[in-house]
Amino acid sequence: MLATLAIQALTGLSSASSLFLVASGLSVIFGVTRVVNFAHGSLCMLGAYLGWTVLTHLPRDPLSFALGVLIAALGTAMFGAWLEIVLLRRLYRAPALLQLLATFAVLLVMQDAIEHIWGPADLPLPRGPWLRSFVPILGERFPLYDLVLIAIGPLVLIALSLMVTRTRFGMLLRAATENRTMLAALGVDQRYLFTAVLALGAGLAGLGGALSLPENSANLGIDLRVITDAFVVVVVGGMGSIGGAYLAAVLVGVMQSLGILLLPKSSLVLVFVLMALVLALRPQGLLGKTGEAEETPRFHRLRAAGLWQKLAGGAVLVAALAIGLLGGDFARSVLEEMAVAALFAASLHLLLGPGGTISFGHAAWFGIGAYAAALGTTVLAVPLPLALILAVLAAGTMAFLIGLVLIRLSGVSLAMMTLAFAQIAWAVATQWDDVTGGDDGILGLWPPPWMGGTWFFLLCIALSATGVLALRAVIFSPFGFALRAGRDAPWRAAASGIDAEKLRLAAFTLAGSAAGLAGALSSFSKGSVFPSSLAIFRSVDALSMVLLGGVQSVSGPILGAIAYTGLFDTLLLASDYWRALLGLTLLALILWRPQGLAR
């Protein structure tokens, strides 16, 4: 047993190395440019595919392998530099949320581009004899290549530390991490520095991707899997700290591989518990410093809607009801989807706007609501109204518990951690076949006959509208004002007796409950639930809706939701390259209005 544990720990160390390579690149890029590179997992994936192409053309001896891996890393580095020049340097002044969304758009485009070039099938690397050999450790056979990986992590850590502390480039890196404005004032041309940093970070990611080839094939799932792990590692280790990234990578790697031994089904949950523990004790991460406060974007004055706007809103509602009642099933299902989207977007807006917090995993609550309603109907056999209540309670409770851990984090860290949680929830939904049905989802969730067709349509519109109006009432209640006060001037608010953290936690819970209701309505409207209701794309849908309509007003996100559902869903999803199209559209919108789409 002890031997098995030791071997499993060693396996964890080897996976920690690849994790560290990717996370350190992410950390270096963030430290200098203050951009959280969502496309970092895609760079890792690019490294894997480049590595596959190069290595399949080289002999299968260790030296050629090393050469091939280096070529792949260099290729990825060059791509990273190019990405900085054409895109990222236009984003440095944009709000953090738009930076995340823009680099996510890069992820979307790269996914389709890589699939177009290399094809959809997994590409395993033909392994030479040395890659298949084993070393006896404690009476067990341990792969030689894993030992190589274990060594590479600390070697890269040492090389990076020497570079940071001993070279002129490293000195500039440290200076830029500390105070970019000062460095610029001293006459250092930041353009070259930033390009070089992107190349370095991308190179590390590419190296990590190419090195993982012998164990995992080059495949299209790398990007999202890697970015989730890397986010966890960077936040747990401390944003911008390379040593912290290694420490966290070892923790997460070992935890994951021991977790498979101890709790085969819930190794993911174990990682999340570890993360929660570290962040509860040290919100700045293991080796992170409580650094400079992030700049919060400027918000305009929020005004309540005037009479004309209220009348227009009422007219839209009446028109929707008329079209739905007079039209057929298709019209009703489109309108139901729009109503659900409006509620979903409005719930996210409470966080992004008045709450001043970035959530990049809002789909988690939507999905938890959808699954709770589905399981309530199929397993517990409760009637529809009870299933809806169950969904709201389930999503709200989860949001409260997760919020309890995460709400103290600063803007970008919170965004990364909400994404990580949503990805874990998604993984649970896909893997827990017995309960969730895995990728097959849960089918046959139609409302009962007495509640079907037109009646459900009316219920869906009524509940969505009530939800949206309730959220609006909250924004203009004392609670909403105090929430904004905490966002606008945190110190001033605290000195006036406003406990902003408590208010934000309440807003997080409320937004989660509302999103849960949206998810539940959506599952009855479509008659089914799939893991896609929890996927990152669902979160990005919500973000796009809010940004499209504008985060500065209450009605903006609702209009955004209607427009997004109407246009994007019908036009874009019809295409085979919907990811690339969505990504390019997002990029175009963001570059057109880097300060935010509203106003």
């Binding site: 203009f476 004392p478 609670f479 004002f481 608010a493 605290a494 000195a495 007796g497």
Partner: protein, 244 residues
């Protein structure tokens, strides 16, 4: 027993003792000035008095009871403060700024009702009138001139009906005429029974309005007395006033 007192406060940052054993007390209606050269530790001292920073040693007491729990509990206990660089709630109107502070002070934040309730609005106007901003109640707070921002912050602070008022450079950035008016306003608050502690770089304001002056240098209190005593103190003249 004093209304508000600090007992041998210590605070160091990375081995540098910013405040090393400061004790003080203030009574209702009193105006206490805390002065000293840059880096003397006034701001750190203020942050401990307001609950923004927890002291390494020592404690802050209100009516003899030690205060704990950070700025929010200090605020609810009746300690109001302004900041050297005033910040107000930028996404609200001037009036809404004060309304929000009123609702927070009256512990009405969790009530489901409109924040623009007529009674709260009237109370806010009353406070704004006191600081001379009533005419600007509907303006965006973000567009106020700096002196007006300071006044708005004072109204926000007063919304909590504080018993102790900590004012960090209440006249910084104001024109000469505005300064006098601002200090007269503060003096009228003290006359109503509020205990006021303030820091100030403008010596004219200090010596014409303070009842008592504490002089800080390098983290310790080096002199205490009435304006006349402080003005005559050769040590103070040497360390502080001599450099003016």
């Amino acid at each position: 027993m004093s209304l508000f007192s600090a007992h041998s406060l210590y605070k160091s940052f990375g081995g540098i003792g910013a405040v090393q054993g400061v004790s003080l007390s203030v009574e209702p209606g009193e105006m206490l000035a805390l002065i000293g050269p840059n880096g003397a530790g006034k701001s750190t001292c203020f942050a401990m008095l307001g609950g923004q920073i927890e002291p390494d040693m020592g404690e802050v007491r209100l009516n003899g009871v030690a205060l704990h729990g950070g700025p929010v509990s200090f605020a609810h206990a009746g300690i109001g403060r302004s900041f050297q660089i005033s910040k107000t709630f930028a996404s609200m109107s001037v009036g809404e700024n004060v309304q929000t502070a009123l609702l927070a002070a009256q512990r009405q934040l969790w009530r489901l009702r409109s924040a623009a309730d007529a009674q709260v609005k009237a109370e806010a106007i009353c406070l704004l009138d006191r600081v001379g901003l009533a005419a600007l109640a509907d303006h965006d707070a973000a567009t106020l001139a700096y002196g007006d921002t300071k006044r708005l912050e004072l109204a926000i602070t007063l919304a909590a009906t504080p018993r102790v008022l900590l004012l960090d450079e209440p006249t910084a950035g104001m024109a000469q005429r505005e300064r006098r008016a601002a200090m007269e306003l503060v003096a009228s608050l003290a006359q109503d029974g509020i205990a006021v502690i303030f820091t100030e770089h403008d010596m004219q304001a200090v010596f014409s309005f303070a009842h008592r002056i504490l002089v800080m240098d390098r983290g310790i209190l080096m002199a205490e007395g009435t304006p006349a005593e402080i003005a005559a103190n050769p040590m103070v003249q040497n360390v502080y006033l001599g450099t003016v």
